[in-house]
């Protein structure tokens, strides 16, 4: 089976969520393909999380951290024990991204922090001439934060073409649909107006994501780039998809078993492999 298989990543997330009896399952499920494609084909990670020349994956949307943990498991940077003892007393993996964990670059979850730090990492890389790139993943709910727009202005002004901002646009935030809480309008227009070379893509179509990331990496403009990835919150499990209760709801034995059955089925509903033909 290929590395960073979306279905396997979701199963790891599911296992962690059940083990830790944690919320935010749906937040992690929406960005699985985004992270899978980045880790599989675009991030230069060298010989490990401490490699000084690595590209940075900045998870500003800290609430999706279980999806990143699942990728770090694939890399062997986290152990089975880390997953199997999620949230046990005295363990190191928290429910939001935390820079003390090797492989996580920033502490975010208090939203709007990670992108600024990512911009600083991008600027440091430019000044050193290191060729490192920064991929910063933000949520569409997160971009309510004013600091996000401060960061975009700064990144465009300083022409940080080694920065790519990826919006996991699942259409929801904590208390409801983004269009009902604080309507963002057309995110792509706003990012374009802020000076970023911006594309829109189906955030669960791995081939489309791969093409878009690649095209933007080769783009000749000396500007930061952005991808508005349209996603489905809770993607991959039929009864979680587009249902914001799974921002909060803990898995029971029954819902865990039902979700696991869907993710384990040869051709279950809502599976990325079927839709984009990359299984």
């Amino acid at each position: 089976m290929k590395q960073f298989d979306a279905r396997r990543l979701r199963k790891t997330v599911l296992e962690m969520a059940y083990t830790g009896s944690t919320a935010h399952v749906a937040c992690a499920f929406s960005l699985v393909e985004i992270l899978a494609v980045l880790y599989r084909s675009h991030l230069r990670l060298g010989d490990g999380p401490g490699w000084p020349e690595r590209d940075y994956l900045v998870l500003s949307k800290g609430h999706g951290v279980m999806a990143q943990y699942a990728c770090l498991c694939e890399l062997g940077w986290l152990s089975e024990g880390d997953v199997g003892r999620y949230f046990a007393d005295g363990t190191r993996l928290k429910g939001l991204s935390d820079a003390h964990v090797p492989g996580l670059e920033v502490s975010s979850g208090s939203l709007g922090h990670g992108l600024s730090v990512g911009v600083g990492l991008a600027l440091a890389a430019v000044r050193r001439g290191s060729g490192q790139r920064v991929f910063a993943v933000v949520g569409d709910g997160e971009i309510n934060e004013g600091a996000i727009w401060e960061s975009l202005l700064f990144a465009a002004h300083f022409r940080l073409s080694n920065l790519m901002v990826i919006v996991d646009a699942n259409g929801y935030q904590a208390m409801g649909r983004t269009c009902e809480v604080i309507d963002l309008g057309q995110i792509v227009d706003k990012f374009t107006a802020f000076g970023l070379e911006t594309r829109e893509v189906d955030g669960h179509d791995e081939q489309a994501l791969d093409r878009t990331f690649g095209a933007l990496a080769r783009h000749p403009s000396r500007r930061p780039t952005a991808v508005i990835a349209h996603t489905v919150k809770g993607k991959g499990v039929s009864f979680m998809e587009d249902d914001n209760r799974w921002h909060y709801t803990r898995l029971t034995q029954e819902t865990y078993a039902a979700a696991l059955a869907e993710l384990s089925a040869e051709q279950g509903p809502g599976l990325n492999a079927i839709e984009c033909g990359v299984a």
Partner: protein, 322 residues
């Protein structure tokens, strides 16, 4: 003091090419020399302090040594959470410079006055806090900033009050400067702009001991214990709230290990009501020499022994036994 800061920053930047300066569109004329000497290391982040501090964290993670300049009302106050999460949580080597601390912007009102900055930062792990009293202490403090391996807040208050030292003192983290020794009843501990005031007041109480406290975190606990044990009362002066600043820090040490009477002189849990000159506003807050002298007289009056007329030592040991 501002010239000393400018010079020290330029010297530090010439010695360490990792140093970059970020400003939130502040510091008119303060960085002329820096911009002339190392123009590519001057970054105006615009009127966007939250992002500026996050960017500084990223630069530090990427191997740079950022100095972040702002007015103390904005750095640290407006960006406290960025300082906590982006910088302190990882213990990153970022120097935060808060200019105009206290009521320096006496005509601009509450938005530009910063009398709670030390209190806010003192509760954050990892960060050190410096508060120089004159140009000499500023030079020494900037030297500590340049060598720091973790976050530092450099508090720059009223800067034209004259010199306390005749030359640059040797400063160390957690060590204060004893400016006057004495065996009288009072010890004075002051920081920043209030050190000259402490020296002026000490003359009214013969035998006073006077300390300048350029390092507010960690504080010089040994100096506090010495002052508490040797004198009958300790008077602490700061252009900052009496809640959470130097006075509180001294009281904490006294309370833990050297109980004595501690008189905290500072801003008394309120905003400035009016505007006017700096001197006027200091009078409004009762932080001028005459007002403080009256406060100290009131404070020590009940401590007088009824027969001898001398200050007596609080009999803590007896209380404990009871």
């Amino acid at each position: 003091m501002r010239n000393a800061f400018s010079r020290a920053l330029v010297e530090a930047a010439l010695a360490d090419e990792r140093i970059v300066l970020l400003t939130g569109d502040h510091g008119y004329s303060l960085f002329d020399e820096f911009r002339r000497v190392c123009p590519d290391r001057y970054l105006n982040a615009g009127v966007a302090e939250q992002n500026m501090v996050g960017v500084a964290a990223g630069l530090a993670k990427g191997g740079m040594r950022p100095w972040v300049y702002g007015l103390a009302a904005f750095v640290p106050l407006r960006v406290l959470e960025q300082i906590k999460i982006d910088i302190c949580y990882e213990g990153l080597p970022v120097v935060l410079v808060g200019d105009g601390a206290g009521v320096v912007y006496s005509t601009l009102g509450a938005s530009h006055q910063a009398t709670e900055d030390v209190a806010a930062l003192r509760a954050l792990p990892e960060i050190g806090i410096l508060s120089p009293a004159d140009a000499h202490e500023m030079t020494a403090c900037a030297g500590l900033c340049a060598c720091a391996t973790g976050p530092v807040y450099l508090r720059m208050g009223k800067s034209d009050l004259g010199d306390v030292h005749s030359r640059t003192p040797a400063l160390y983290w957690g060590r204060w400067c004893e400016l006057r020794t004495g065996d009288g009843p009072l010890a004075w501990i002051a920081t920043g702009s209030m050190v000259t005031t402490a020296l002026a007041l000490a003359g009214q109480w013969p035998g006073s001991e006077v300390w300048s406290a350029p390092c507010l975190k960690p504080i010089d606990a040994a100096a506090v214990r010495q002052a508490c044990e040797k004198h009958q009362a300790v008077i602490v002066l700061e252009e900052h709230s009496i809640h959470g600043g130097l006075g509180s820090a001294v009281a904490e040490v006294a309370c833990d290990s050297a109980p004595t009477f501690v008189c905290r002189v500072g801003i008394r849990n309120r905003f400035s009501r009016f505007c006017g000159s700096y001197a006027y506003l200091m009078r409004e807050h009762q932080l001028d020499v005459e007002s403080i002298a009256a406060q100290v007289r009131d404070f020590v009056a009940p401590l007088h022994d009824q027969t001898g007329g001398h200050l007596f030592r609080k009999t803590i040991t007896t209380k404990k036994a009871a």
